[in-house]
């Protein structure tokens, strides 16, 4: 009876641990993108994965960082443990106390502290900074494994070796080290595991253009769940299982050989063979990883581009590289505020950015972007005159910015989940939509909705008006399913919610993915925005940056890009080439004056205004 209950209990926890993993593995073979339905068996997510170089890069980086940091941490950690034997008690306590800090301290604090160090020293964050961080948190794991074994070693053996004429190092290697091997390996394994699994510390120390698998997955997940990620999970789990079985077999073989051979011989042969067995793949991985991961970035002919998520046709990046020979390092941000913070903290991180109107004004105001070399951007003539006029609102002389895409903000809704088509923002405060509403997780857009609903200007800096809007957003919070940015599209296609505040560009693709969806720009008014390419002041490759912008203005490129991302293009030459009449005259992508008349652009509100919005937003997000 008792053993039955025990088995049942163990079984339940076992299922709890493995059911989620099995789910991921099953879904990786599901041809339907929906998580709840089985659409048939497929391998296409794996095939996509093989073609996704950024994921392969991230995998390579993860392995290279883990291997190198493990080796260095193991060497330093072991040497230090030996050294600790010769110091007095107090210094040993001090050293061990310091060693404990990274283990006990929260990862977020360790990550932040290292980030501050790198930033203050103007140390370029990337591969090396992440490696340093990983070595730092790995050494303690090695020391913790090795030190107890060190203490059990009989000093007489070492002394005997010395008495027999061995030199100290030789004596150490022959008489001491063999007894440490298993603990050193255990420490190294622990360090390797910790390095592979780390997300938080890498997140804070990684800099631009460098991702490990963890940070890559985090970015991907924030954009909606792609089945390719399930495929990664399955691969990782399969590798872990294989490694486990290999180590188990090795242990068994080790045990069986030992019986019939003199101990020391076996020990030697096995350990050497094992050593080579481990070294060969390790070196192979490091070399391959460096090759694929492009570890030594920042070559001369590179361009660092920072754009919003899912905001370009990836083929265009490849075409640009092929034509110009410039390698593009392409990173994505979630919101303009995050982009600004990144550039503010590391002004040379990127060459080209793609911010919206109000953010461009802020960048100009803070002297963070440079005037464009317009002679090098002849294709700018393809941009419609009205858009160049519109951009004068934030860039008076048309000197800093070239328009890329524009659009409105409105409500994307699922016609099968609502009683009647919404016309007003009020629907987002209606109890009937409880749990079915996706709000924008970006400060200005969220406040715009609440401000306009209360009859205020979306560019207000009046604390009282903002307080009213903030209270309104807090009152709405129980009805909100989630605050999202790029996930909105994915969730709406999947039927997860009835309403989402979205950008018109996402609407086009969402409607293509789910025909029940429709879009409205509420009649109280909304926001119209214009995103432009700009070049940072400290850009390392302004030459390439101008080429990039010119390339993006080419009609064929702008058209190809429009057909992929479906965000309204200000490129008149490209617009004229759109063959699909329905698309060309789409009310969503190219709204008429009646819609535009009720839309306002955001303006830059100054440091204090921004601070006010930030504080209020924090209140909304933490309030109840």
């Amino acid at each position: 009876m008792r053993s039955k209950i025990e088995k049942l209990y163990t079984g339940i926890i076992f299922i709890f641990m493995y059911a989620p993993i099995v789910t991921l593995m099953v879904l990786s073979f599901n041809s339907s993108k929906s998580r709840a339905k089985w659409g048939g068996f497929t391998l296409k997510w794996y095939i996509n994965l093989i073609h996704d170089s950024s994921v392969l890069n991230a995998m390579a980086n993860t392995l290279v960082i883990a291997l190198i940091s493990t080796v260095i941490a193991t060497v330093i950690g072991t040497i230090t443990c030996v050294g600790l034997m010769g110091v007095n008690r107090r210094s040993r306590a001090v050293i061990m106390g310091i060693t404990n800090i990274p283990m006990i301290n929260a990862d977020i604090v360790t990550g932040i502290s290292l980030m501050l160090l790198f930033k203050v020293l103007h140390f370029e964050t990337g591969f090396v900074s992440v490696l340093i961080a990983h070595i730092t948190f790995n050494i303690p794991y090695v020391m913790l494994a090795v030190l107890p074994a060190m203490k059990t070693i009989d000093p007489n053996v070492y002394e005997a070796a010395l008495d027999l004429g061995a030199k100290p190092f030789h004596a150490f290697r022959k008489a001491v080290l063999p007894n440490l091997t298993s603990s050193v390996l255990a420490g190294a394994l622990m360090a390797f595991t910790m390095s592979i699994d780390d997300f938080i510390i890498t997140y804070f120390t990684k800099g631009s253009g460098f991702d490990t698998l963890s940070t890559k997955i985090y970015n991907e997940v924030k954009r909606g769940i792609r089945p390719e990620i399930y495929a990664i999970s399955t691969i990782i789990f399969a590798v872990v299982i294989v490694l486990l079985m290999m180590s188990e077999r090795m242990r068994n073989r080790h045990a069986s050989v030992r019986k019939d051979a003199p101990l020391y011989k076996v020990e030697k042969r096995i350990s050497r063979r094992r050593f080579i067995l481990m070294l060969v793949p390790a070196f192979a991985i490091i070399i391959l990883g460096m090759y694929f991961g492009g570890v030594f970035k920042r070559k001369s002919n590179q361009l660092f581009v920072y754009n919003a998520g899912e905001y370009i046709d990836p083929e265009i990046i490849e075409m640009f590289s092929e034509e110009t020979g410039i390698e593009v390092i392409y990173d994505e941000f979630e919101t303009l505020e995050i982009m600004y913070a990144k550039i503010y903290q590391d002004d040379a991180a990127y060459d080209v950015l793609c911010p919206s109107d109000y953010m461009i004004a802020k960048l100009i105001d803070n002297d963070m972007i440079q005037e464009l070399d317009l002679d090098k951007i002849p294709n700018r003539k393809n941009i419609g005159q009205q858009y160049m006029e519109a951009s004068k609102a934030f860039d008076p002389g048309n000197k800093y910015a070239i328009p890329y895409c524009w659009g409105t903000v409105g409500i994307l809704y699922n016609t099968t989940m609502v009683d009647e088509p919404p016309t007003s923002w009020d629907v987002l405060w209606d109890e009937k939509g409880a749990g079915e509403i996706l709000m924008q997780d970006s400060i200005r857009d969220a406040f715009m909705v609440a401000l306009i609903r209360n009859g205020f200007d979306p560019n207000t800096t009046d604390p009282e008006e903002l307080a009213i809007a903030a209270d309104d957003l807090i009152a709405q919070k129980p009805l909100v399913q989630a605050y999202v940015i790029d996930q909105a599209k994915d969730k709406m296609i999947g039927g997860e919610a009835a309403y989402a505040v979205t950008y018109s560009g996402d609407v086009m693709e969402a409607m293509a993915g789910n025909e029940d969806l429709d879009y409205v720009v509420p009649e109280e008014g909304s926001n119209v925005w214009l995103d432009c390419w700009v070049v940072t002041k400290k850009a390392r490759n302004p030459e390439a940056a101008m080429k990039w912008i010119d390339f993006m203005c080419r009609p064929d490129i702008a058209l190809k890009n429009f057909e992929f991302i479906m965000y309204s293009t200000p490129n008149t030459a490209a617009w004229e080439m759109i063959e699909d009449e329905e698309l060309k005259n789409s009310e969503v992508a190219f709204p008429g004056d009646d819609v535009l008349k009720r839309c306002t652009s955001y303006t830059y509100l100054g440091e204090e205004g921004d601070q006010l919005y930030n504080d209020m937003w924090k209140k909304v997000k933490t309030g109840e």
């Binding site: 209990y9 076992f14 641990m17 059911a19 989620p20 993993i21 991921l24 929906s34 998580r35 709840a36 330093i76 040497i79 030996v82 050294g83 600790l84 010769g86 110091v87 050293i95 060693t99 800090i101 990274p102 301290n105 929260a106 990862d107 977020i108 604090v109 932040i112 502290s113 980030m115 501050l116 160090l117 060190m150 070492y158 595991t193 592979i196 699994d197 938080i200 698998l213 963890s214 997955i217 985090y218 769940i225 990620i229 999970s233 990782i236 789990f237 872990v240 486990l244 995050i338 913070a341 903290q345 919070k477 989630a482 999202v484 999947g494 997860e496 930030n614 924090k618 997000k621 933490t622």
Partner: protein
Amino acid sequence: MPINRKTSRLLNSPYVAWAVIFIIVPLFMVFYYGFTDDSGSFTFDNVAAIASPEHMHSLLLAVALSVVSTVICFILAYPLGMILARNKASNRSMIITLFILPMWMNFLLRTLAWMTLLENKGVINGVLDFLHLPGINIINTPAAIVIGMVYNFLPFMILPIYNSLSSIDDSVIFAARDLGADSKQTFFKVTLPLTVPGIISGVTMVFIPALTTFAISTMLGGSKILLIGNVIEQEFTLSYDWNLGSGLSIVLMVFIIINIVVSSISDKKGEES
């Protein structure tokens, strides 16, 4: 092992240098930024900012969720540890490995798995719907975050508890029985006190990462629920306010230090008894 002072200093110096540059100095910088303002003059404001309603709320919520998660982990792990420790079969190490194995899956993938399961149109609801049962609606609630924490950190609780349970000498248990203790008394007077160090290390290994996480709350809380980890993260990635972010980190460190002090006191008590 006798090593002379000179050699040992030589052997220790690389690590000491490393630790000073990459552990001590960075921590000092957190304190520097935490106790200064924009212009670099001394202030308590950044640390005191924890008392503001927004920060306090996120801190208290983080404490509440991580305490609940830690307790659940403990309740799940202890019986499991006992069952596993009693199992003397030869495949014991294999079974233990099975419970630790999910740790080798990437932490974010483990969390992603729960997103997939708990979503409104997710796997669990799909199955419930298929069986004509009412669906569940816990994604983007504190409950979802607790599930994510428990799932991610449970192995950290199982391992130390199992280790301390399996290192108890059977003869101690027999002695207790011989002296007339029933099984309940044996458990509370002998087994439990002997595993206190294991429990404490398990609690620390679950509580601190749970208290300071921002990824789990972002992914399973739909950005609706801000824990103190999220607030600190956003000070660096969104508001670029290093001073406030560092100040709040110092508060977090105080919590960690309290945790260590409390555990080392009860650790000593455990040893005495």
